[in-house]
């Protein structure tokens, strides 16, 4: 074969040397320095509009939530641009927005699919930041994904407004200066749920946990177990199940013979629908164990899940961040404009995403700039009202919102197919407030 290469001689070595020199020099020739003359990334000063990125799960276990979040974002953009009836812009206090975009710039948006995977979410977020030039991005439905995006936000210097994420870690050990969470967390669920459980189920119970095996499941399991053990309950077992398992029968069957009389499902989205439905099909709720009725608890509830689980949710206790049946001005305004737009009431995921978008926009307006360092300072320790949860504080120490928590129960006599959750108790924010030190973590610098 004459086609094989001859051994390297001096001439080809020289050529190769010259070529590799050129190769190594090219990066400095071609690299563009797009942000050299502005002092923060994607500065919209010279453009007529600003772009938000909405990065939600469109496929996977949390796709239903993602679809509802996207609806809320589109509604928020409409309201910010002065279209539609304005929704919560009519009730939000204090309010600096004027319904003409933000600082006079029209709001536009781009969307992406997180696939409920950290990798895909970060790739999608990077596209929004690097290609579409977003000034803020938002989205959620999985705490693992939210935490991954939040640390990306810190690296990129672009604010990330978390959507639905309930893990303590999001504003605990993994908190970031560029990440903000309006949603409540597992600790608050536990603190709110405790007194109600004590009243309804007594002090002598044996609990069995089934937990989604990732950061949110772990922290919720921990917080709820701390609460119930504080009541005097015994924890029989804690079993971790993979996210998106689909079939939970192999996990539910052992519960029957474990001697437990309470099943706590630390599941969310389609996982919760499947595990709850299967638990009911196994006849758990009709059983008498230790002389008591067997009970199921779903610490984090949402109306979308209740809809999916149908009849099975009747009488089951849990907590929720917000419910469309609330009668305050903010909630009514939001439910009205969401209903007019889409024909059905919004979920709690939609609510938190809508509020987050408005809060960010308002902070820009108050700061008078889109510079993230200033916007972050405007959001920190900001107090507001009229957004559906009563007076709320955006705590500066960990970027967590503190507000009332709703303890709810699956409605026994639903009047419509949306009237699925009955509010049992509104736990005041003082009762669920905690010291930011207990979860540790570092926010990091304002300027990156």
């Amino acid at each position: 074969m004459s086609n094989f290469r001859r051994p390297i001689n001096r001439r080809s070595l020289l050529k190769a040397g010259a070529a590799s020199g050129l190769v190594l020099a090219t990066p400095t020739i071609i690299t563009r320095n797009a942000w050299a003359d502005t002092n923060f990334r994607n500065d919209p000063t010279n453009s007529k509009s600003v772009t938000f990125g909405f990065n939600v799960p469109q496929t996977g276990a949390y796709a239903d939530e993602g679809a509802d979040e996207l609806r809320a974002y589109q509604l928020a953009v409409k309201h910010l641009n002065g279209e539609g009836d304005g929704g919560m812009l009519n009730t939000m206090k204090p309010l600096s927005l004027e319904g003409n975009g933000i600082l006079g710039k029209k709001v536009e948006y781009v969307t992406g699919d997180t696939q409920t995977k950290s990798d895909a979410a970060r790739a999608s977020a990077k596209r929004m930041v690097e290609k579409d030039g977003v000034i803020m991005w938002s989205g959620g439905s999985s705490s693992g994904v939210a935490i991954a995006q939040q640390s990306l936000a810190q690296e990129m210097g672009i604010v990330f407004m978390c959507g639905l994420t309930h893990s303590n870690d999001t504003t605990g050990k993994d908190k970031r200066r560029y990440g903000f969470r309006h949603f409540f967390n597992a600790y608050m669920s536990g603190a709110a749920l405790g007194p109600v459980l004590e009243k309804q189920m007594g002090k002598d119970r044996r609990a069995y946990h089934l937990t989604a095996d990732y950061t949110w499941g772990w922290t919720q399991e921990e917080s709820i177990a701390n609460t119930t053990e504080g009541l005097g309950w015994e924890t029989v077992n804690k079993v971790r199940t993979p996210l998106g398992a689909g079939d939970f029968s192999q996990y539910i069957a052992p519960v029957l013979n474990s001697g437990a009389d309470v099943l706590i499902l630390n599941h969310y989205g389609k996982d919760m629908i499947n595990s709850l439905t299967q638990a009911v099909q196994f006849g758990l709720r009709d059983k008498l164990v230790n002389g008591k009725n067997f009970e199921i608890i779903v610490p984090l509830y949402s109306r979308l899940m209740a809809q999916g689980a149908g009849e099975n949710i009747k009488g089951i206790y849990g907590t929720t961040n917000w419910n469309w049946s609330l009668q305050d001005e903010g909630s009514k305004a939001f439910v009205k404009s969401f209903g007019q737009e889409y024909g059905f009431p919004p979920s709690q995921a939609a609510h938190t995403c809508y509020v987050q978008t408005l809060l960010y926009a308002d902070a820009c307006e108050r700061a008078g700039t889109f510079n993230p360092a200033e916007v972050i300072k405007a959001l920190e320790d900001h107090q507001f009202d009229g957004m559906g949860n009563g007076p709320t504080l955006y705590r500066g120490a960990d970027h967590q919102c503190f507000k009332d928590v709703l303890v709810v129960k699956g409605n026994e006599n639903a009047t419509s197919r949306f009237d699925l959750l009955e509010v049992v108790e509104v736990t005041p924010s003082a009762q669920v407030t905690y010291d930011p030190e207990i979860f540790g973590g570092e926010l990091g610098p304002y300027k990156v």
Partner: protein, 381 residues
């Protein structure tokens, strides 16, 4: 394109390839792909597919579990960041060592069988590794949450606690994100391409092609093919490991989903779409799939309306609603259709299409005879 392979034409191809890769930020910008993250993905998955092609394209062994090495490379690199510091060089060294060890072990067992049995064996290993990473080995892999570098990690070489900035991999002060990250990946892709080119032209590569054409005949002549196939398997595993390491270098995070069977299937798609057994094909295929994944999936109704706004309203609405099925979350559908078209009409992948086009233009010249090491001869199998 190149019907007769000479050292000169090889050199020309290599130089053109190098220039094309390094100039990607310029010529990909008009189609909306000229931003650093996607460019990095092009280079990284190009390298992954290039390595896969050394095994599949040359020996014909179809591995359905190649994503294992991608995942192992990522985990090894992130652990190197955690223990040794944020320099990418030791991280890549770790990736190479661990992916090579895994490839040696998996290859040693799987290569006892060929054909569909080999594919199933590699798939089984991939699923095992995925489940290990996802739940059993949670202390090492951090399960579903994914392995990240934390401020509290030891990081012996650059010291923890001293640096409060974001944890980004740095090559002697150059941050491995954005365009500099892309060029780091690009240089490794070019090195990988050079190695792959040399393997294709070597007696070793010839031996691998012989395995593909008839392994029994090779055995009858008294030749043991196992060392050759195992070497090809390990080399291609190391390519995948480096690609995984680079994923971690550009974004210090590793998750179990990188090992999922869908990721293994993706590299098979890339290689077949581009043209198995050709040098450039797998890289083209990788680029095409990543482009679809990142650009098509981001189209929403708003963008479609903007594209079709020139149509009258009566036609625009149905056009947008039909096109909407194929973009956004429906990008898999578009990819599936494209894949079917390519497999049915161009079994040799995009490279065969390019060859046919170039033949149309050079028809007037007398047709040169194919040499035995011609690329399209292997692709037609």
């Amino acid at each position: 394109m190149l019907t007769k392979v000479t050292p000169r034409s090889d050199l020309l191809m290599f130089v053109l390839f190098t220039l094309a890769i390094l100039a990607m930020p310029l010529w990909l910008a008009p189609i909306g792909a000229g931003y650093p993250d996607l460019l990095q993905k092009f280079a990284i998955f190009g390298l992954f597919a290039l390595g896969f092609n050394i095994l599949f394209g040359l020996t014909g062994y179809l591995s359905f579990g190649h994503a294992v090495f991608l995942g192992v490379g990522s985990y090894a690199a992130v652990w190197s960041f955690k223990l040794l510091g944020m320099n990418p060089l030791p991280a890549l060294l770790f990736s190479v060592v661990f992916s090579a060890l895994f490839a040696l072990a998996i290859g040693f067992i799987s290569l006892r069988r060929s054909g569909i049995y080999f594919s199933i064996l590699t798939l089984a290993f991939a699923q095992m590794s995925y489940n290990l990473a996802y739940s059993v080995l949670t202390p090492i892999t951090n399960g579903e949450t994914g392995l990240r570098v934390l401020q509290s990690d030891p990081r012996l070489l650059d010291g923890s606690g001293s640096d409060t900035g974001p944890l980004i991999s740095r090559l002697f002060g150059i941050e491995m994100t954005g365009y500099s990250g892309f060029y780091f990946c690009a240089v490794l892709l070019i090195v990988g391409f050079y190695i792959s080119q040399r393997i294709f032209r070597s007696p070793f590569g010839m031996m691998l092609r012989a395995v593909k054409s008839n392994q029994n005949r090779m055995s009858y002549t008294g030749l043991n093919t196992r060392p050759y196939t195992l070497a090809a398997f390990v080399i291609s595993g190391v390519f995948a490991g480096v690609a995984g390491g680079l994923l971690a270098v550009t974004d210090p995070l590793a998750g179990a989903e990188r090992m999922q069977w869908t990721a293994s299937g993706e590299v098979v798609l890339m290689t077949i779409l581009g043209g198995a057994g050709t040098l450039l094909g797998p890289i083209l295929g990788a680029g095409l799939i990543k482009y679809f994944e990142n650009i098509f999936s981001a189209y929403n109704e708003q963008t479609l309306h903007a594209i079709f706004s020139f149509l009258p309203d009566v036609i625009e609405a149905p056009v947008v609603s039909i096109a909407g099925l194929f973009v956004g979350e429906g990008w898999h559908l578009t990819l599936g259709l494209l894949f079917m078209v390519v497999v049915i009409f161009l079994p040799g992948g995009i490279m065969e299409g390019l060859n046919r086009i170039s033949k149309i233009f050079s028809r007037s010249k007398p047709k040169p005879k194919f040499t035995s090491s011609s690329q399209s001869a292997a692709a037609a199998e």
